[in-house]
Symmetry: C3
Subunit: 338 residues, 3 copies
C-alpha cells in the first residue's frame, strides 16, 4: 500500500510523501527502510532518530525526516494496520477424519476441526470457528462463531463460549470449582459443582489459564475481557467486560469485578471480594476486601496505591528508624536523670 | 424425593411438611420453589428471607416459613444430597478404537478409555476408571479403581495413582524434578530424576497442576488431600493426608506437610520446610522455616498470623511514625540546647 | 561397575576397596548396601553414619568405614554416574501411523513421532528428537537434534527450538504475547503478535510453562538455561544463557536477563526490566527496576537482600516501635511542661 492509502484507511492525514510504498509494519527498534512504525507519545520522539522506518504514525505533526501519518490514536491505528499486513493465519476449513465427533454435534459453516479433536454429545460449534489439534470439548457445550481454540484446550460440559473468542493452548474451561466440606472424621467431602462457565464475545484467554465452573449458576467472563497466561479464575466469579487480567493473577471464588478493571501480574483476590469499575491493582497485590472506588491500589493487603508506595519507600529505613528510637530513648533517659 | 425421605437418608429430622416433593438442590441465592438449600450457620439466617427455596437444611430448628431438615452438619448433608440429585456424569465404559495401547497394558472392568488416549507399556488401569480424551499415561504407571483422569492429563512413567482419585484437565504428574548441578564452566548439568510420584486414594488435583517425581524415592500426596488448579509440588515432597492446597500455591523440593494442613492461594514454601499437622497458612505467605505448632500463620517470611496481622495494620502508618520520630528529635534537640 | 572403574571414569581416586562392585546410585537417605552415594560438603558428614551406602563420593578423603571416591566436585561426578546407571529412557524411533503430518514436513534420522502428534506445514524435526503423544507443532517450526517434547506440548507457528532441548508436558511455546490497545470506546483491540520464540540449545522447560512469542522480533531463551514448572515468560523477553528460573516465576514483556541469573520461585518481574549477569533474586520478590550489579536481591519492590532481610526482621517489631514512639512523646510532653 501507498502511504496515502494507508492514511485514508486509518482516517489520518499524510505529512510528507503520500506516494511512498509501504512494504511492512514493524516496531520502532526493528523497523527497516520501507516500513511504517508508530510513536505512541511525543515524549519518545528521540527514538525516531535511530529508527530506520520510512514512515511513522504520530499523534501530531512533528519535526522528523520520516513521512508521517497524523492520527489521534497512533497505537490503535497501528494495530489496525498491523492486522491488515499480518492477518492471523487461519487453517483451511474442514473436518479432519481423525476427529471424534459424538452424536448430536452441530457444526457451523466453514469450521475447522483439526486432527485429534474430540467433541462430546450435542456440542454446537458456530460458523468459521477453528479447533486446533487435541482440543477436547465435552458434552453440551456451545461455542459461537469466529472463535479459535488453540491446541490441547479442554472445555468441560455445558460451557458456553461466545463469538470471536480466543482460547490459547492448554486453557481449561469449566473444571470443577474447589468446593469441599469436612465430614465427622475430618475428611473433605466433595460438593459437586453443578454450574457452568459462560465466556462472552471477544474474550481472549491466555495459555494454560483455568476458569472453573460454578458450584451453582455461572462463572462469567464479560465481553471483551482479556486474560493472560496461567491465570486462575475460581468458581462463581463474575468478571466484568473490557477488563485486563495479567499473567499468574488468581481470583478466588465468588469474586465480582466491574468493567475496565486491571489486575496486574500475580495479584491475588480472596474469595467474595468485589472490585469496582476501573479499579487498577498493582502487581503482586493481595486484595482481601472490596475495592469500590475507581483508582490504583497496591500492597498486600491492598490499599490505595499512594499510601502503599509511601510506606514501601520507608521499609528499607526501618532499621534506621528503630535505631533512632533507641537513641531518643537514651537521650530522654539522660535528661530525666538530670 | 419427598422431604421426609431426604431427612431419613441424611439422618436428620423434619420440621414442617415432610410430604413436600423436593424437585432439586440449589445454593441459597439461586434456589427456586420446590428446591432445598442449606444454612451452614444460624448467623446467615437473614438470607433465608429472600430465598425462594421451599425447604432448608439447618443446624437447629429455627423461625422460618420454610420446611426444615434439622441436621448437625448441614453443609455435609447438603453435599451428600447434591451428589444424589446431580451425580457426576460418567461416560460409557469401553475402549475407543483410536486409543493407542502398548504391550502389557492391563485394563480393569468397566474402564473408559476415550479417543486419543495413549497408554505406555505395562500400564495398569483399575476397574471403573475413566480416562478422558488426550490422556497420556507413560510406561509402568499404575492407576487404581474408580479414578478419573480428565482430558489432556499427562502421567510420566512409573507413577502410582490410587483409587477414587480425580486429576483435572492438563494435570502433569511425574515430570522431572528441577535438579541440576553446575559443571566447571558454570553449565547446569542435569541430575536425572529417577524416583516416582505416588498419589494416594481420594486425592483430587486441580487443572494444570504439576506434581514432580522424586530425584530418588517418592513424591507423595496423602489420602484425601485436595489440590486446586495451577499448584506446583516439587520433587520429593511428602504431602500429608486430608490437606487442602489452594490455587497457585508452590511447594519447593523435599517439603513435608502433616495432615489437615491448609495452604491458601499463592503461598510459597521454600525447600526442605516441614509443616506440622493442622497448620493453616494465609494467602501469599512465604514459608522459609518449619512451622510445627498447629495454628494460623501469615506473611513473608511467615510467622504467627496474629503478629503478622498486627504489623500489617501498622504499615500504612509508617510515614506518620517516621515523621513523629523526626519531630521528637527536634524537640529533644531544643531541650538539650537549653 | 567396580568402584575403581567408576573412579577412573569420573576422574577421581579411590580410598578403600576399589574392587567393590557398585550395584546402584542413590541419595544418602535411601541408599542401600552395594550402592554409591555422594557428600556435597564435609559439613554433612554426620549423615554418613546412618547411611547404608557402601561407597561415597567425597570432596576430600575423610574418616568413614565406607569406600570413597575422592573428587573435587562430588555432585557433578554423582550426576554423571547417575546418568550412566539410570539413563533417561527413550522410546523406539519411528513414526506412529496415527500421527498427522502436513505437507513439507522434514523428519531427521531416528526421530520418534508418537501417536496423536500433529505437525503443521514445513515443520522441521532434527535427528533423534522425540515427540511424545499429543504434541502439536504448528507450521514453520524448526526443532533441532536430540530434543524431547513431552506429551501434550504445543508449539505455535515459526518457533525455533534448538538441540538437546527438553520441553516437559503441557508446555506452550509461542502463544500470542499479551498486547492490546484501547479504542475510542474503551474496548481492547488486539495488537497482532507477529514475532516468534527462539529456544537455544540445552534449555529445559518445566511442565505447563508458557513462553509467549514476540510482538515483533524474538522472545529468546539462551543456551543452557533451565526453567521450572508453571513459569510465565512474556513477549520479547531475552533470557540469557545458563540461568535458572524457578517455578511460578513470572517475567513480564521485554525483560532482559543476563547469564547465570537465578530467579527463585514466584518472583515477578515488571515489564522492560533488565537483570544483570549473576543476579540472584529471592523467592516472591517483585522486581520493578533494573538490577545491574551481580548479587542477591529480595523483597517487593526488590532491593539488596541484606537491606531487605534487615527490615524484614524488624517488621514483627513494628507494634513495639509504635508504642515506644507514643511513650517517648508522652515523656517529652511531661519534660516540656516542666
Amino acid at each position: 500500500m501507498k502511504l496515502q492509502e494507508i492514511a485514508e484507511r486509518l482516517g489520518g492525514t499524510v505529512e510528507g510523501d503520500g506516494s511512498l510504498e509501504i512494504t511492512g509494519v514493524n516496531g520502532m527498534e526493528l523497523a527497516e527502510q520501507g516500513q511504517i512504525t508508530f510513536l505512541a507519545d511525543k515524549k519518545f520522539k528521540d527514538q525516531l532518530k535511530t529508527c530506520n522506518a520510512s514512515a511513522v504514525i504520530v499523534p501530531k505533526k512533528m519535526e522528523t525526516d520520516k513521512a508521517q501519518v497524523v492520527h489521534p490514536a497512533p497505537a490503535l491505528a497501528f494495530a489496525k494496520l498491523l492486522a491488515e499486513y499480518h492477518p492471523e493465519p487461519r487453517p483451511q476449513p474442514g473436518v479432519d477424519e481423525s476427529a471424534c465427533i459424538a452424536d448430536g454435534v452441530q457444526l457451523g459453516k466453514d469450521v475447522t476441526i483439526s486432527p485429534f479433536v474430540a467433541l462430546g454429545k450435542d456440542v454446537v460449534i458456530g460458523d468459521n470457528t477453528v479447533l486446533h489439534p487435541g482440543v477436547v470439548v465435552h458434552e453440551g457445550c456451545r461455542i459461537g462463531n469466529n472463535s479459535t481454540l488453540f491446541a490441547n484446550v479442554t472445555v468441560y460440559r455445558n460451557s458456553v463460549i461466545g463469538n470471536h473468542v480466543v482460547l490459547h493452548a492448554g486453557v481449561v474451561i469449566g473444571a470443577d470449582g474447589f468446593g469441599y466440606t469436612p465430614d465427622e472424621k475430618g475428611r473433605h467431602v466433595k460438593i459437586n459443582q453443578v454450574g457452568r462457565v459462560v465466556i462472552e464475545d471477544h474474550v481472549e484467554v491466555g495459555a494454560n489459564t483455568c476458569i472453573d465452573r460454578a458450584a451453582f449458576g455461572e462463572t462469567v467472563v464479560g465481553e471483551g475481557t482479556k486474560i493472560d497466561n496461567l491465570v486462575q479464575i475460581a468458581h462463581n466469579c463474575d468478571i466484568g467486560p473490557h477488563s485486563i487480567i495479567v499473567s499468574q493473577a488468581g481470583i478466588a471464588g465468588t469474586c465480582k469485578l466491574g468493567h475496565h478493571v486491571v489486575l496486574a501480574g500475580q495479584v491475588g483476590l480472596a474469595d467474595h471480594v468485589t472490585i469496582g469499575d476501573q479499579v487498577i491493582v498493582a502487581a503482586q497485590a493481595g486484595v482481601n476486601k472490596d475495592l469500590s472506588e475507581p483508582g490504583f491500589y497496591g500492597g498486600s493487603p491492598a490499599i490505595s496505591a499512594m499510601t502503599w508506595k509511601r510506606y514501601t519507600t520507608l521499609l528499607p529505613k526501618l532499621p534506621e528508624l528503630s535505631r533512632k528510637i533507641q537513641e531518643l530513648e537514651k537521650r530522654l533517659n539522660a535528661i530525666e536523670k538530670e
